[in-house]
Symmetry: D5
Subunit: 94 residues, 10 copies
């Protein structure tokens, strides 16, 4: 089941550089684990913004919230989730 | 080169049913042609709305505008385009 | 799986009264069928507005879109869907 | 008498962890007490956000304000209240 | 129990003048009846707008919705309702 | 001459408790003095928010600004003022 | 007593040209009468918009509403009124 | 003197095709005349929208308004004008 | 050439009182100098807000930016500039 | 390929003056390098705001993001990117 997710990151500009590096490193590992598991099939950077558009493929709303609230950057993010359905013009439709 | 596109459709509620059917049929054919060509790799319905989130893969801004302004539903749509870049956490990054 | 749905209705003020009555009657029957099936457990009128807050309990995003887009009033509605997860303070949590 | 309530929480990211834990623990106890009393019949987490949609069942506007302003997290919340009325399509309507 | 209500009126500019006069006359009678009953204690015109701020004093959310949805101008109005509580600085507080 | 005023208060969550108590005490005294003088005939708490809707009855725009800018909480408030006129349906109209 | 007023005009594009000319002519005469009386000391066109910023000098909120609601273009306007006070840096302050 | 201008066009979808063609032809000629005169140095299409970003180089606010309000499409446009100044980092700065 | 300017001031509530007094004193002197020079013909306080509506009369966009960016309060302000043209109904029009 | 970019800068008012000077100096050098390379053909100051409208001419979305995210002021900016296409009325169109 697919969801469209917009994430915007607001890190304090005075964050300790090492803490920041470590945080981003954990975020990357967390994201890539989910990508390898097929849970997070798409992630794109919004040009010019510290933000991304992503698509998640999960079994339930609860699973999605568990994943998103576990993001290391979660306390610094503004997230908007939009549930997706199959589009009638999609050539992959049965 | 990828672009995130949000399309919202506002058809007049009193549109002639046959005109509407024909218009939607042309829209579907137009969209599926571009999907088969790889120009429109993703199209998802926003749940509960006459709207979609799409991703386009084209060579230039001009090509994208040519495609979008050629949509049979274009005069009835509100479209917002966001250019996308590769995300540093994307596992497909080189 | 639960979803929070806000529906706002905009009927043309010059709609034929009989057509309007018939449309609202079909809407009511459609809604009550889904309530009896347990798919639409809550529907509340927003005080002072031709709008409602509802909660749906369905198996998938696709099922929800199928239900919503089948509403007789769908062409006259603005709908916003928010996926819900279990709240950690909910006393019904396991 | 029912009210729809949206609560959004903004805790400072640099809050003392113990203070935070204690605060959330008091919030949970406060919420569950009101749930057991039937005053707070529904609470749902908004997927991907530190926010909830709730329904309150109280005797008056004043009682609702007393409850909400007593929330341990109240100073960190943005709250919007919408009064609800019975919907004419509700199968529980007399 | 008090509610703050903002009403904005949008009459079609091409409405039949007699229909308009009659409609406004019914609206005035309806409003004044409720004012005499003490249900609608305050109504003020917003300067420069076809809008008013009002205060209603009713027994329940349902009663308020019944009153508002019965306004002759209701189909032409955008209404926003805000429930009010006693302010701790109000000199009329006990 | 009447004005509709919306006041929203944003006190820093880390304000010194004694300073806060003193500030709110001065605010209350200031408000009640104006209520007793008939300058501030209505003040209502917005349910669930640290905000109020008020009505002021003053002789001029300048007097209103002098009163509002003298509020002890003024530096922490967002205020919006709307001038009011007599509504043609008001039963107190001559 | 001064008020800042923003007026935006939305005339139907299919309005009868003669009706339009006549309406604008009446609007101009109405406006110039008030300018000559000193009630409407400033009127400026917003560059690129069918809108103006104006300043009115009247005795009361009620007088201002009477003036504005009497504008021949009033049914086609969106108006926002802001009451003004003397600025402490104004060199004309006593 | 430079101005940044955003123009959005909303033509009725049921406009007579010949009238539309003629209108667009006049718009193009009007625009190109001003481009040749150096008054309208830049015009870009916003991808996916019936809108443009333009830069005008004129002698005064009044000249700009005269130009914009003379656009054949003016009655169908929403225009926003932003005055521009030389940027201190501009390599063309003296 | 006239411009409409809206300035909103946000001083930190914990600013050193002496620094604040000094800053406001410099702001006042700066403003009054420009008023005496005829560059800043109007300044009005928005009732209930730490904001003003002003009209500037300058020779160019660049001059206006130089003036505004030189305001002692500039780092604490949110400013919006709207270019003005002569209104066709203005009795001072030639 | 052209892009319209709006950049808004929010520097902390209490930033160390030397750090600020250095940062702005690096920003200027970075910007001018790209202007000399033809990548950043236009940069204009928005009158009255710490903001600019710019046009970039780059080969891809990725190149643009690399450029923008490398701005020394990037952590303090809010950026919005709009892809541009050739306008059919542009006299430079082939």
């Amino acid at each position: 089941m697919l969801y469209h997710v917009h994430m915007e990151v607001n890190l304090p500009t005075d964050m300790d550089p090492q803490e920041r590096t470590e945080l981003l490193s954990r975020e990357k590992a967390y994201s890539q684990g989910l990508q390898h598991d097929g849970k997070w099939p798409h992630i794109w950077r919004v040009v010019g913004e510290y933000a991304n558009y992503s698509v998640f493929d999960v079994d339930s709303n609860d699973e999605l919230h568990q994943i998103l609230s576990g993001l290391p950057l979660y306390p610094y993010m503004t997230i908007r989730v939009t549930p997706l359905a199959q589009h009638p013009s999609d050539i992959r439709a049965g």
